[in-house]
C-alpha cells in the first residue's frame, strides 16, 4: 500500500501512485478480451473453454452428424460472456470455427478465418481514423488457441496451412487437445516434433516475453517451465469426480484411473490457464495492438498511398502466407451504397493527408539540406 506523503515533502512528487490510478480506471472500465479457438472437431475445444473459464458456454450446442457436415462450409461463431472475479469484470468474446477441417476437401478452408481476423482489424482502423473515437469497441482477436490432434504424428498439412495463414495476424498458441490419449513419453516426443515442425515451417507462435530481471526466482522458474511446455498438452473437464476417500477433483474417470485436469503431472491445463488468464492476458492484448494491428495498418496505408504498386518487402513476407492476401481494407459485403460512399470519402481524405505529410517531409528535408549547405 502506498502511503501518500504530504504535499509539503519536497523529495516526493507522488507520480509513483500512477499505476494505482490506472488500475482503478481499468477496473472500472473492465477488460475486453477476444479469444479464438480453432482446430478439427472432436479435439475437446469446447470442453477446454468451459473448463478454463468455468462456464457452460456451449450448453445449447448441436453437433451435426457426418452427412450434414459434408456440405457444411466453415462458419465463424461468436459467443460473449461476462466473467467477474474479485471485482474485476472481463468481457470475454469467444470466436469459434465449427466446420474447420471436417470436409473431405479442406482446401482453403482457413480463408474465412483469415478474412474474419482482418475484418476486425479493418473495423478498428476505421474506428480509429473516424471522428468519434470515444467508444471504440475492440473486437480484434487477441489470441488464437489452435488445437492439434494427439493422434497424429505432429502437425498435419492442414495445421501447417492454417498456421501459416494466420501467424502474422494473431497471437497463436498451439495446444494439444485430449492429451490423456498420450503416455508421458509420447507427449514429450510429440511436443518436440511439433516444435521442430514450427521452426522448420517458420511459423511464429506467440512468444512469451522474457522475465524482468527484478522478478523473484519462483516467478522466473515458473515462466521458464511454462515456455518449455509449449505446445500445452491439455485435458478439459467440467465434471467433478468424487473418488470415495480422496478429495473431489475436476477430471475424467476411466476404468483404470482418473485424469485430474488440474494436476500438473497429468496435463498442462494449469500452465495454460496461468499463462492465458493470470499472467499474459494484458501482454496478448498489447502484442495484438502494437505489433499485429500496426503491421496490418502499415500495410493498408502503404498500399493506399501507392495504389496499384505492391510493397516488395511486405510481399515477400506475405508470400509465405495464403496467396489470396488482400492488401486493401475489405468492405463487409452487407454495406449499403451510402456507407461505401462514406468510406470512399474517408479514403480520399486519408490519401490527401498522407500526401500532404509526405510533401511536408520532403519540404523540411529540402530545407534541412539547404540550411546545411549554407
Amino acid at each position: 500500500m502506498w502511503k501518500m506523503k504530504g504535499l509539503k515533502d519536497k523529495e516526493y512528487v507522488g507520480f509513483a501512485a500512477l499505476p494505482n490510478q490506472l488500475h482503478r480506471k481499468s477496473v472500472k472500465k473492465g477488460f475486453d478480451f477476444t479469444l479464438m479457438v480453432a482446430g478439427e472437431s472432436g479435439l475437446g475445444k469446447s470442453t477446454l473453454i468451459n473448463s478454463l473459464f468455468l462456464t457452460n458456454l456451449y450448453e445449447d450446442r448441436q453437433v451435426p452428424d457426418a452427412s450434414a457436415r459434408t456440405t457444411q462450409t466453415l462458419t465463424i461463431e461468436r459467443r460473449g460472456v461476462e466473467i467477474e472475479e474479485g471485482g474485476i469484470k472481463v468481457k470475454l468474446t469467444l470466436v469459434d470455427t465449427p466446420g474447420f477441417g471436417d470436409s473431405v476437401d479442406c482446401s482453403d478452408c482457413w480463408l474465412p478465418v483469415v478474412r474474419f481476423i482482418e475484418e476486425q482489424f479493418e473495423q478498428y482502423l476505421r474506428d480509429e481514423s473516424g471522428l468519434n473515437r470515444k467508444n471504440i469497441q475492440d473486437s480484434r482477436v487477441h489470441c488464437c488457441l489452435y488445437f492439434i490432434s494427439p493422434f497424429g504424428r505432429g502437425l498435419r498439412p492442414l495445421d501447417v496451412a492454417f498456421l501459416r495463414a494466420v501467424h502474422e495476424k494473431v497471437n497463436v498458441i498451439p495446444v494439444i487437445g485430449k492429451a490423456d490419449a498420450l503416455m508421458p513419453r509420447e507427449t514429450q516426443v510429440l511436443k518436440q516434433k511439433i516444435r521442430d515442425q514450427l521452426k522448420e515451417e517458420e511459423i511464429n507462435i506467440y512468444q512469451f516475453p522474457e522475465c524482468d530481471s527484478d522478478e523473484d526466482e519462483e516467478f522466473k522458474r515458473q515462466n521458464e517451465e511454462m515456455k518449455g511446455s509449449i505446445p500445452f498438452a491439455v485435458v478439459g473437464s467440467c465434471e467433478v469426480v468424487r473418488d470415495g476417500g480422496t478429495r473431489p477433483v475436476r477430471g475424467r474417470r476411466y476404468s483404470w484411473g482418473t485424469v485430474e485436469v488440474e494436476n500438473p503431472h497429468h496435463c498442462d491445463f494449469l500452465n495454460l490457464r496461468r499463462m492465458l488468464v493470470q499472467t499474459h492476458l494484458q501482454d496478448l492484448k498489447e502484442v495484438t495492438h502494437d505489433l499485429l494491428y500496426e503491421g496490418y495498418r502499415a500495410r493498408c496505408l502503404q498500399s493506399l498511398a501507392r495504389p496499384g504498386a505492391r510493397d516488395r518487402a511486405s510481399r515477400s513476407k506475405l508470400s509465405r502466407q495464403s496467396a489470396t492476401e488482400i492488401p486493401l481494407p475489405m468492405l463487409p459485403l452487407a454495406d449499403t451504397e451510402k456507407l461505401i460512399r462514406e468510406k470512399d470519402e474517408e479514403l480520399r481524405r486519408m490519401q490527401e493527408m498522407l500526401e500532404k505529410m509526405q510533401a511536408q517531409m520532403q519540404q523540411s528535408q529540402a530545407q534541412g539540406e539547404q540550411s546545411d549547405s549554407l
Binding site: E40, S41, G42, L43, V63, P64, D65, A66, S67, R69, T70, D102, S103, V104, D105, C106, S107, S149, P150, F151, G152, R153, R156, P157, L158, A161, K178, D180, A181, M183, P184, E186, V189, K193, R252, R253, Y254, S255, W256, G257, T258, V259, E260, N263, H265, H266
Partner: protein, 358 residues
C-alpha cells in the same frame, strides 16, 4: 437351407448387366438324414480330423488391410492382434517420416505358426489415406488394389492349366479406423465405407479408445451405428449373408451391441498384479489391452481370429469375388477375361470405376 432370392443391389458402380440376384454360397441341398447310431458307427465324423490334418499341412492365407488416418495406431493394433511384429510401424517416433502425397499400398507378408498351424499373413497398409488437405477420392487407389487382386485370382482361375492351389492375395478383411472424436463419423469415413463396403468386408474399429470414458464410448458407438445404418453401409458381418438362425442371433448381438469395437493397441508390457500384461502406462493408471473392462481389443481379436476368420475368407470368395467375376464376365460378353470374340484380346479390367480427378 435355401432362402428366397436375395434382393437386388442397385449400385451405380456396377454395370447394368449384372445378373440381379447375388449368387449364394454353393451349399448342397440338405440330404435326407439317416441316423447312423441306429445302424452302427460309420466313421464319417472323422472327416473333421482329416480336414484339420490337411489344413495344418497346407497352411492357409489371410490378408488383412488397415485403413485410417496416420497416427491412429493401425500398425500397433495389427502387431498386437497377431502378437508379432507383422506390421512395420510407419514411424517409430524418432525417424523422419514424410506423409505420402497420394495413398500408397504396402503389402507385407509373414508366416506365423501356432499349434502346428501355419498362416501366411499379409498385412496391407495404406499410408497417406485421409492425411492431405484435399482427400477427394483418396479411396480410389484402395479400391483399385482390391479389384486387382480379384482380377489376379480370376486370371488364374480361367487358366487351362491352373495351379492346384491358387495363391490368394484377395483382401479378406479391411479394418477401418475411426478417429475417437466422440461426436460422430467424419465425412471421409462415410465416403470410404460407402464405396468400399460393397467390394470388401469392412470391420470398423474405434481407434485409441483410451481417450473416451465408458459413457462417451457407448454414446459414440450408438451414434456411429445409427449413422452407418442411415447411410446404408453394411459392415461385416453383413445381415444379408447370415446363413441360419444361429448365425443371425450371434451376429445380431455383435452388430447391435459390440461393433464398432473400441480398441487400444500396445506392444509394451507392464507389471500389473504380478502379471505381465500388454498395456499403456499413464500417470493416472495402466490401461490393459486385454482387459475387457478397459477396452474391446479381446473382443476384436476373438471375432476376427478365433471365430470368424474362415467366414471372412468365405464371404470374400463366395460373395465379393463372385460379384466381381460376374461383372467381368458380363462385360466381356460371357467369356473369360483376356479372350474376346474371334480370339481377340480385350482390354484389361477397369480397375477403378470412375476416372481419378486430377
Amino acid at each position: 437351407m435355401s432362402k428366397g432370392l436375395p434382393e437386388a443391389r442397385t449400385d451405380a458402380a456396377m454395370s447394368e448387366l449384372v445378373p440381379e440376384p447375388r449368387p449364394k454360397p454353393a451349399v448342397p441341398m440338405k440330404p435326407v438324414s439317416i441316423n447312423s447310431n441306429l445302424l452302427g458307427y460309420i466313421g464319417i465324423d472323422t472327416i473333421i480330423e482329416q480336414m484339420r490334418k490337411k489344413t495344418m499341412k497346407t497352411g492357409f492365407d489371410f490378408n488383412i488391410m488397415v485403413v485410417g488416418q496416420s497416427g491412429l495406431g493401425k500398425s500397433t493394433l495389427v502387431n498386437t492382434l497377431f502378437k508379432s511384429q507383422v506390421s512395420r510401424k510407419a514411424s517409430s517416433w524418432n525417424r523422419e517420416e514424410k506423409i505420402p502425397k497420394t495413398v500408397e499400398i504396402k503389402a507385407i507378408g509373414h508366416v506365423i505358426e501356432e499349434g502346428g498351424v501355419k498362416m501366411k499373413l499379409t498385412v496391407i497398409d495404406t499410408p497417406g489415406f485421409g492425411d492431405q488437405i484435399n482427400n477427394e477420392n483418396c479411396w480410389e487407389p484402395i479400391e483399385k488394389y482390391i479389384n486387382e487382386q480379384y482380377e489376379k485370382f480370376l486370371k488364374e482361375e480361367v487358366n487351362i492349366a491352373r495351379k492346384k492351389r491358387i495363391p490368394d492375395t484377395r483382401v479378406h478383411c479391411c479394418l477401418y479406423f475411426i478417429s475417437p472424436t466422440g461426436h460422430s463419423l467424419r465425412p471421409l469415413d462415410l465416403e470410404f465405407m460407402k464405396h468400399l463396403s460393397k467390394v470388401v468386408n469392412i470391420i470398423p474399429v474405434i481407434a485409441k479408445a483410451d481417450t473416451m470414458t465408458l459413457e462417451e464410448k457407448s454414446e459414440f458407438k450408438q451414434r456411429v451405428r445409427k449413422e452407418l445404418e442411415v447411410n446404408g453401409i453394411e459392415f461385416y458381418p453383413q445381415k444379408e449373408f447370415d446363413e441360419d438362425l444361429e448365425d443371425k442371433t450371434e451376429n445380431d448381438k455383435i452388430r447391435q451391441e459390440s461393433m464398432p469395437f473400441a480398441v487400444v493397441g500396445s506392444d509394451k508390457e507392464y507389471q500389473v498384479n504380478g502379471k505381465r500384461v500388454l498395456g499403456r502406462k499413464t500417470p493416472w493408471g495402466i490401461i490393459e489391452v486385454e482387459n475387457l473392462n478397459h477396452c474391446e481389443f479381446a473382443l476384436l481379436r476373438d471375432f476376427v481370429i478365433r471365430t470368424h476368420l474362415q467366414d471372412l475368407k468365405e464371404v470374400t470368395h463366395n460373395i465379393h469375388y463372385e460379384t466381381y467375376r460376374a461383372k467381368r464376365l458380363n462385360d466381356n460378353g460371357g467369356l473369360p477375361p483376356g479372350e474376346g470374340l474371334l480370339g481377340t484380346v480385350l482390354p484389361p479390367a477397369p480397375a477403378t470405376p470412375c476416372p481419378t480427378a486430377e
